[in-house]
């Protein structure tokens, strides 16, 4: 039996609705009006606070005679930068010094991201391995690196590990022309000779051509269904270009640049400074530990039934991993991975503790030498903001591509 109220309600709605017209509701109780009002209020409040903060900032800066101009960027910097990756001398401008710092930041975070991703994934796989020893080693690695501050790790690598290297005059000479001492690791490195340019250009063209051939032939196989031998064909093309380049450059496109001792230091060769090596290693190992956990989480989130099904149809261990687990795990892995990449980039600003001069370290010196704290900090903020936004933009595009497509 229906509720008596039901009947009453029906009667009421049939004859005259409860809410007859808008006119009955005062505006201060109308939900729509209130919503709009709340929006306006919050916008005014937020904008007001922002504007007040900005005005206050300008007033205070003005009163303290802290000039907010960027003109000083054109003046000569006057301070040295250790081992600049691009051409730099103290006579050059502050903006140049800043650029040197930026290149260093990009270098250490770019290489760090690549290494941390590869190494972190390997650690995650080791952690999930059924081999007890391997899995425990991975566990210890992860817990050690996740649970100590990055700064401590930096000091360990820089002052303890690299501090154990011998003095310059007692350099370790490893098999082959590799020298290790407190000033860094010196490795013999092939340098381009005068004719090397032609060789490099031809090899580059070779890569391009063989890549295009590879794609085209593979596409044809897909369409026609006949084997087009795309792999041997493109590889052969590459070798031909390589040999041709070698011939044109007279057989010696490279010359080994072997480090040698002169005066106070080693010269020549490829050099890895302890500052860069310490920064790179601690930054990427630290982040690798976090990435390993992200990857492990992603893999473990894949339904067990999927793996069992894949095994049941006879896929090998590697095939299960690359065709079944990874494509599904990536969807979960990518978003937290973006945060790890951003963290790594921003953490590189700790480098000033061990004398690696990336953008933050250079900025801090510039603050002191030019006495322009506010513009320099604004510049530093803008730099990291752009880097972070760029990283997440690129990765978000990738993320969208690998997500489920809902048809």
């Amino acid at each position: 039996m229906p509720h008596p109220f039901y009947k009453w309600k029906q009667v009421m709605t049939n004859n005259q609705p409860l809410i007859s017209s808008k006119a009955n509701i005062p505006f201060y109780r109308d939900e729509r009006v209130l919503k709009i009002f709340a929006q306006i209020l919050s916008v005014v409040l937020v904008a007001g606070i922002l504007i007040w903060a900005i005005i206050n900032f300008f007033k205070a800066a003005d009163a303290r005679n802290m000039t907010l101009t960027f003109g000083f960027l054109k003046e000569s910097a006057g301070f040295p930068i250790s081992n600049p990756p691009i051409d730099y001398a103290p006579v050059m401008s502050f903006s140049r010094a800043f650029l040197v710092g930026l290149v260093n930041t990009l270098l250490v975070s770019g290489l760090g991201i690549i290494f941390a991703t590869i190494f972190g994934t390997l650690i995650a796989l080791a952690r999930l391995s059924s081999n007890w020893l391997l899995s425990r080693i991975a566990l210890v690695f992860i817990e050690f690196h996740r649970n100590i501050p990055l700064l401590v790790l930096l000091f360990i690598w820089y002052f303890v590990v690299f501090g154990m290297a011998p003095q310059v005059k007692e350099s370790l000479k490893w098999p082959g022309p590799i020298f290790v001492n407190k000033r860094g690791i010196y490795i013999a490195w092939p340098r381009l000779t005068e004719t090397g340019g032609i060789f490099m250009i031809l090899v580059a063209i070779g890569f391009l051509v063989s890549f295009i051939v590879f794609i085209m032939l593979r596409k044809r196989r897909k369409i026609t269904g006949k084997d087009t031998y795309y792999l041997p064909a493109s590889l052969g093309l590459l070798i031909i270009f390589f040999l041709f380049g070698l011939l044109l450059s007279g057989g010696t496109p490279f010359q080994m640049d072997i480090p040698y001792f002169e005066g106070n230091n080693f010269r020549g060769g490829m050099r890895l400074t302890p500052e860069f090596a310490g920064m790179f290693l601690s930054l990427s190992l630290y982040t690798a530990a976090f990435i390993a956990e992200v990857v492990r989480g992603g893999i473990q989130a894949v339904d067990k039934g999927q793996i069992e099904a894949a095994r049941a149809v006879g896929l090998s261990q590697i095939q299960v991993l690359s065709f079944v687990i990874m494509p599904q795990a990536l969807r979960i892995i990518i978003p937290p991975m973006i945060s790890q990449y951003l963290n790594l980039t921003k953490n590189s600003s700790l480098a000033l503790a061990i004398g690696f001069q990336e953008v933050f370290a250079v900025g801090k010196i510039a603050i002191n030498q030019a006495g322009r704290a506010v513009p320099v900090f604004a510049l530093i903020m803008l730099t990291y903001l752009s880097l972070s936004l760029l990283t997440s933009f690129i990765l978000n595009i990738y993320n969208r591509r690998i997500q489920f497509v809902i048809r």
Binding site: R64, F79, P90, N264, R267
Partner: protein, 357 residues
């Protein structure tokens, strides 16, 4: 897609606009000097309200700014802050020392976060214009080089290709690059923000050479495991007048701090020491009586201080020579550094102050 990014982009654009706006509006043509705005700060008022002097110093340089075994701040630079506190409050302990790195000290003074910056700061014209008011040179120093004995280097002529450890944000850093440029030599700089890190790296062998003010090198060498393994070269490549500074904007405070430094120097000249301040109050030397506030007005009414403010300062830390000798004299707590140019002008040095009268 764009919708999702809109808030982030909006913030980004606003920030960029603000930055370009302040870049363009305040810089009409090239590098026109910014309009000089006079600052009004009431530092003295704040000091009196607070009941103590906030002193920007350091805790990591033996002789100048360090801690004793009880964690009490002391050192040549710190004693100056204590003298000021004694002059203002009659109490040398009414001081709060804020340790600063070389790179931080400028902005901190600019924003008046400290009342006095006494942290072996070199007085330069650009710092005077930007940072604050520099009072009176308390230590005449110059930049030198320290090398390890076993490096085989004996003079700066052999510096080509050397690795040099240096502190960032210092005049030292600039002088170093000027020196090598002038002499047409190459070098590799290894730069740290923390003074301790610089000398760790140097002692460890990361660098052939380290460079700083000679007093600092002497101080640091005294703390090395084997001080005799290191030599400070005889060459001096710059002028480093180490000077306490106060923030811009309070003339009275600037005057007080300056006059305290004058008093310490005059006291040495007149033979007034920490021990004999009281008995010197009945001296027959008129200049001594004026210094100790027994005769005439040395300016205390206008500055709002007690007549015996300077006497208090002297009895708190001693005269200039006593402060120097306490830390760097023949039996100094920290190390021994010949006074050289830091003798009173009476004794052929550069330490000189206007008379107290």
């Amino acid at each position: 897609m764009y919708r999702k990014y809109f808030p982030v982009l909006a913030i980004f654009i606003v920030l960029a606009l603000v930055l370009t706006a302040c870049g363009s509006t305040e810089q009409p043509a090239g590098d026109e000097p910014a309009e000089a705005v006079s600052v009004e700060e009431d530092i003295l008022g704040r000091v009196l309200d607070r009941g103590k002097v906030v002193c920007g110093g350091r805790t990591d340089l033996a002789g100048f700014g360090m801690l004793d075994e009880n964690g009490r701040n002391l050192g040549f630079d710190i004693d100056f802050c204590r003298a000021v506190a004694a002059a203002v409050f009659g109490d040398p302990e009414a001081v709060e020392v804020v340790p600063l790195t070389a790179a931080d000290r400028g902005p901190v003074l600019q924003t008046a976060e400290v009342d006095i910056l006494s942290r072996n700061v070199t007085w330069t014209s650009s710092r005077d214009a930007q940072w604050g008011n520099f009072t009176n040179v308390m230590f005449y120093d110059g930049q030198g080089f320290m090398i390890r004995k076993d490096s085989g280097i004996t003079s700066t002529d052999e510096f080509d290709g050397a690795t040099v450890c240096v502190t960032s944000g210092t005049t030292t850093e600039q002088n170093l690059s000027d020196f090598f440029r002038q002499n047409g030599m190459e070098y590799e700089a290894v730069i740290f923000e923390e003074t301790a890190a610089v000398y760790n790296a140097y002692e460890d062998g990361r660098c052939d050479v380290t460079t700083s003010d000679k007093s600092q090198l002497a101080s640091v060498r005294s703390g090395f495991a084997n001080p005799d393994d290191h030599i400070i070269l005889d060459i001096t490549i710059s002028k480093e007048p180490l000077t306490p500074a106060v923030p811009h904007g309070d003339d009275t405070w600037f005057d007080i701090v300056k006059i305290v430094s004058f008093a310490l120097i005059n006291a040495e000249e007149l033979g007034v020491t920490q021990a004999n301040v009281e008995e010197m109050k009945s001296s027959d030397n008129i200049n001594v009586l004026r210094l100790l506030g027994e005769e005439g007005d040395w300016g205390y009414t206008d500055l709002g201080l007690d007549p015996d403010a300077l006497a208090n300062a002297i009895s708190a830390v001693g005269n200039y020579g006593e402060v120097y000798d306490r830390y760097m004299g023949p039996n100094g707590i920290s190390f021994t550094l010949p006074r050289g140019p830091n003798y009173n002008w009476y004794d052929g040095g550069l330490i000189y102050a206007p008379p107290i009268k």
